[in-house]
C-alpha cells in the first residue's frame, strides 16, 4: 500500500466512520444498579455517619433535628476515655491473632487436602461447619465451653490443672474470644486457599519433582509464591471481617469483665444504643474505619514488597 493509498483509506474511514466514539449506553446500564445500590446502602450511611460525628446528637437534640455542629468535640470525648484506647488495642490484638492463626491453620489444612485420602469429601464438608453455623449459636456454644463449669475447665481438671474463670477474668476473656473467632474463621481461609492451590498447574510440581525438589521445597518455592495473590485477598477480607466483629464478643462477654474485651464495634454500640450518644458513637465508628484504612495501607505496602 502506497502512502497516498493509505491516506485515502484513512480519509475514507474518517468520512464514513466518524472518529468520535459513539456513546455506549449498555456498559453504564450494567453498572448502574450496583452504583445505585452502593450509593444508597453504603455511601449514604457512611457519609451520614461522618456528618453525625461532628454534631451533638443525643436524645435531646436528635428528634428536634437541630443537632448543633460542634466540630471535634465528639472525637475529643471519645479519645479522652481510657475504654476507647482499650478497645483500640483489643481490636488490633483480636484482629492480629485471629488472622494469623486462621490463616496458618487454613493454609496447613489446605496443604493436607491436596493429598488423596479416604473420606476426604466428608471431612471437607465437616470442616465448613464452623463457617456455616449461625454466629449466635457458635457464640453461645463457646460461652458454655469457657464457662467455669464448662468443658474446657473439665478437661483442665482431668490433666490436673486448676479451673480458670475464662470469661470472668480480664486476662483470659479476650484470648477466649479470640480462640472462638479463630474457630469460626479458619474454614473461610481454608476454602479460599484450597481453591487457590487447586488452580496451581500440576505440571509445575511435576517439573520440580523431576528436578529433585522435595515436598517442603515445592511448598515453599512453588505453592507459596504462586498462592500470593489469593493469600493477600484472603488476608485483606479476613482483616475487614475481623475488625468489624461484633456479635461474637457481644454475646460472649458483652465487652466485660470491666470493659476488658470491648472492641471498637461493641464500644460504639454501647455508646450509641445504651447511652444514646449518637454523635460520639458515630465518631468512634469513623475512627474504626480509619483503623481499617491504616491496616489496609499496611497490607498494600506488604503487597508491593
Amino acid at each position: 500500500m502506497s502512502r497516498s493509498e493509505l491516506s485515502n483509506a484513512v480519509s475514507f474511514s474518517q468520512e464514513h466512520q466518524p472518529r468520535k466514539e459513539r456513546f455506549h449506553f449498555s456498559p453504564y446500564a450494567f453498572v448502574l444498579p450496583c452504583a445505585l445500590f452502593s450509593a444508597a446502602l453504603l455511601l449514604y450511611p457512611v457519609v451520614n455517619s461522618l456528618a453525625l460525628s461532628f454534631r451533638q446528637a443525643t436524645v435531646d437534640t436528635f428528634v428536634s433535628g437541630e443537632m448543633p455542629f460542634n466540630g471535634l468535640t465528639q472525637y475529643q470525648a471519645a479519645v479522652a476515655d481510657p475504654v476507647f484506647w482499650r478497645a483500640v488495642i483489643n481490636t488490633v490484638l483480636f484482629t492480629a491473632f485471629s488472622i494469623v492463626f486462621q490463616f496458618v491453620i487454613g493454609f496447613l489444612l489446605a496443604l493436607l487436602f491436596q493429598f488423596k485420602f479416604p473420606l476426604k469429601s466428608v471431612c471437607l464438608s465437616l470442616l465448613l461447619i464452623p463457617w456455616l453455623l449461625p454466629l449466635l449459636t457458635s457464640a453461645n456454644i463457646f460461652k458454655g465451653l469457657f464457662n467455669e463449669a464448662g468443658l474446657i475447665n473439665q478437661l483442665l481438671h482431668l490433666i490436673g490443672g486448676r479451673p480458670i474463670p475464662w470469661l470472668a477474668d480480664q486476662h483470659f476473656a479476650l484470648p477466649a474470644t479470640i480462640v472462638a473467632n479463630i474457630w469460626i474463621g479458619f474454614p473461610f481461609n481454608f476454602v479460599l486457599l484450597y481453591a487457590g492451590m487447586q488452580n496451581i498447574p500440576e505440571e509445575v510440581y511435576e517439573a520440580a519433582k523431576l528436578d529433585g525438589a522435595d515436598y517442603w521445597r515445592r511448598v515453599t518455592q512453588i505453592t507459596v509464591p504462586l498462592l500470593k495473590p489469593v493469600a493477600l485477598s484472603v488476608l485483606m477480607l479476613g482483616t475487614v471481617y475481623t475488625v468489624k466483629v461484633f456479635d461474637l464478643v457481644w454475646i460472649m462477654t458483652g465487652g466485660g469483665p470491666a470493659n476488658s474485651t470491648h472492641l471498637l464495634s461493641t464500644y460504639a454500640y454501647q455508646v450509641g444504643f445504651s447511652i444514646l450518644n449518637f454523635g460520639e458513637a458515630a465518631a468512634i465508628a469513623t475512627l474504626m474505619v480509619l483503623l481499617l484504612l491504616v491496616l489496609n495501607l499496611f497490607r498494600l505496602l506488604m503487597q508491593q514488597r
Partner: protein
C-alpha cells in the same frame, strides 16, 4: 427547613388517620342505609410499639385489642414489635421522621430520658382522672412524673427478691436469710462443689446495676454518691461472696436468664431474681421459697428497684392522641389490669390490685410487700440514669474481677458520675 418539617408532620398526621378500605365503606353505607342513619365514620389507628415477646404476653395483648376494638369500633390497634435493646432508639427515629407511633411501651427507667427529647405528651390532665392514679405506689409514679408532668402510666411493675432452694437449706440446717450476715451464713453452709451458695447477675449490662441496687439502696446508699460507706459496704458484700467461692466468678457473665438456669439446675442454693421467672422455676420442679432481699441489719427495710413498662403517649394529632389515651384508660381498669399483670408476671403498680395478686398467689407476697418502699431507678439521676448505671456497673465488674478493691473501683466510677451529673 422549618416549613419543610411542619409540612412533613402535617402529611404524617394526615396519613395516620387511615381511611377505611373501600369495601368496608360500601358495607358500612349499606348498613347505615338500612338503619336509616347516616353516619360519618373515620377510623383512627393507634400504633403501639412494644418489645413483649413471651407467648402469654402476646395472647393478652391480642385479647386487649379484641375487647378494645369491640368497644370502640372507630379505633384500630396496631402492634409493632421491636427488640428490647432497640425500642428507645427506634421510637426516637420514628418520631424524628414524623412517623411517631401513638403509644410506646417504654421500660420505666427510660421514660424520663425519652420525655426529655420532647416526643412524649404530658398526659397529667388525663391520667389524674383515672381511678387507679391515686392508688399507684409512689415508686412507679415517680418513674413517670417530673415537675408535675406525667409522661406515662405503668402497665405493671416487677422487682427482685431472693429465691431459695428449700431442700438445700434444710439439708444445711439453715433458715431463709433476712440479713446480710444470715445470707453469707446460708451461702457458706450450702456451698458445696458444684453447688454455689448464691447466684446473681453482674454482667456488663443494665442487669448488674439493677441486681446490685437492692443491696445498695437497702444499705442507704445512692448511685449519685458511690464513695459513701454504704455503697462500699454493698459492693464488698458481692465481692466477698465471689472471692470466698460462695458465688461463681461467672456471675460476671451471667445474664438473669443464666442465673435462673443455675438455680433450676440445682447449682445454686439461692438467687436474686424477679417474679417473671416464677413460672420457669415452678416448671423445673425445684422445691423453692421466696423471701425479700436480705437487708444489712435486722429491722432495716429492703429497698428494691422497680422494673416494668409504661404506656407512653406520643405527641401527634389530637385525634390520635385522644384515641391512644382511650386505649391506655381501657387497660388501666382494675379488672383488666389484674388480668394483664397476671399474664405478664407483673406485680401491679396499683396498690389494691397488687394486694389482690398477693392474696391469690402467696409466693408473690415478698414482692408485694417490697412495693411500698420500691424505688424507681430514675430517682437516682433522672434522665441521666442510663449513663450513671453504665459507670456503676463498671465498678461492679472491676471489683468482682479483682482489678482493684471495691473502694477503689467505686471511687473511679463516682468521679465519672460526678462529671455526668454536672453536665447540663
Amino acid at each position: 427547613m422549618k416549613t419543610n418539617s411542619t409540612e412533613l408532620s402535617y402529611l404524617a398526621r394526615k396519613e395516620r388517620v387511615t381511611k377505611p378500605r373501600r369495601d368496608h365503606l360500601v358495607l358500612l353505607a349499606l348498613a347505615t342505609f338500612n338503619l336509616g342513619i347516616i353516619s360519618v365514620s373515620a377510623e383512627t389507628t393507634v400504633e403501639v410499639v412494644h418489645y413483649f415477646n413471651v407467648e402469654g404476653q402476646l395472647q393478652e395483648l391480642a385479647q386487649i385489642q379484641k375487647d378494645f376494638e369491640q368497644a370502640n369500633s372507630d379505633i384500630k390497634i396496631k402492634y409493632t414489635y421491636v427488640p428490647f435493646g432497640e425500642l428507645v432508639s427506634r421510637t426516637l427515629q420514628m418520631a424524628a421522621v414524623h412517623k411517631a407511633p401513638a403509644i410506646a411501651v417504654i421500660d420505666n427507667p427510660d421514660v424520663l430520658r425519652v420525655a426529655k427529647s420532647n416526643i412524649l405528651k404530658d398526659i397529667s390532665q388525663e391520667v389524674t382522672k383515672l381511678p387507679i392514679w391515686n392508688d399507684l405506689y409512689p415508686g412507679p409514679k415517680k418513674a413517670v412524673t417530673s415537675d408535675g408532668k406525667a409522661y406515662g402510666v405503668p402497665v405493671g411493675s416487677n422487682s427482685l427478691a431472693l429465691y431459695y432452694n428449700k431442700k438445700m437449706l434444710s439439708a444445711a440446717g439453715v433458715q431463709p436469710p433476712n440479713t446480710w450476715q444470715q445470707l453469707s451464713d446460708v451461702a457458706t453452709k450450702t456451698a458445696q462443689s458444684p453447688v454455689y451458695g448464691i447466684a446473681f447477675s453482674a454482667v456488663n449490662t443494665e442487669e448488674s446495676t439493677w441486681q446490685w441496687e437492692p443491696f445498695l439502696w437497702s444499705n442507704g446508699g445512692s448511685l449519685r454518691d458511690l464513695t459513701s460507706t454504704s455503697a462500699v459496704g454493698a459492693l464488698q458484700l458481692w465481692v466477698d461472696l465471689v472471692s470466698k467461692g460462695l458465688a461463681s466468678k461467672d456471675v460476671l457473665n451471667w445474664e438473669q436468664g443464666d442465673v435462673a438456669n443455675q438455680f433450676t439446675a440445682g447449682r445454686a442454693a439461692t438467687m436474686v431474681m424477679g417474679p417473671w421467672m416464677l413460672d420457669a422455676v415452678k416448671k423445673s420442679g425445684i422445691d423453692f421459697g421466696i423471701v425479700p432481699v436480705p437487708v444489712p441489719k435486722e429491722g432495716a427495710k429492703p429497698v428494691v428497684p422497680l422494673g416494668g413498662e409504661c404506656w407512653c403517649v406520643l405527641k401527634g394529632n389530637s385525634q390520635v392522641e385522644a384515641a391512644a389515651m382511650k386505649f391506655v384508660a381501657f387497660t388501666e381498669q382494675p379488672d383488666r389490669l389484674r388480668k394483664i399483670c397476671d399474664a405478664f408476671n407483673y406485680i401491679s403498680s396499683v396498690q389494691s390490685v397488687a394486694k389482690q395478686q398477693g392474696e391469690s398467689n402467696p409466693e408473690l407476697n415478698p414482692f408485694v410487700e417490697q412495693m411500698d418502699a420500691a424505688k424507681a431507678r430514675s430517682e437516682d439521676g433522672g434522665a441521666k440514669y442510663p449513663e450513671i448505671s453504665l459507670a456503676t456497673r463498671a465498678a461492679i465488674q472491676r471489683a468482682i474481677s479483682g482489678q482493684g478493691s471495691a473502694e477503689e473501683a467505686l471511687q473511679e466510677s463516682a468521679a465519672k458520675i460526678k462529671a455526668i451529673l454536672s453536665k447540663n
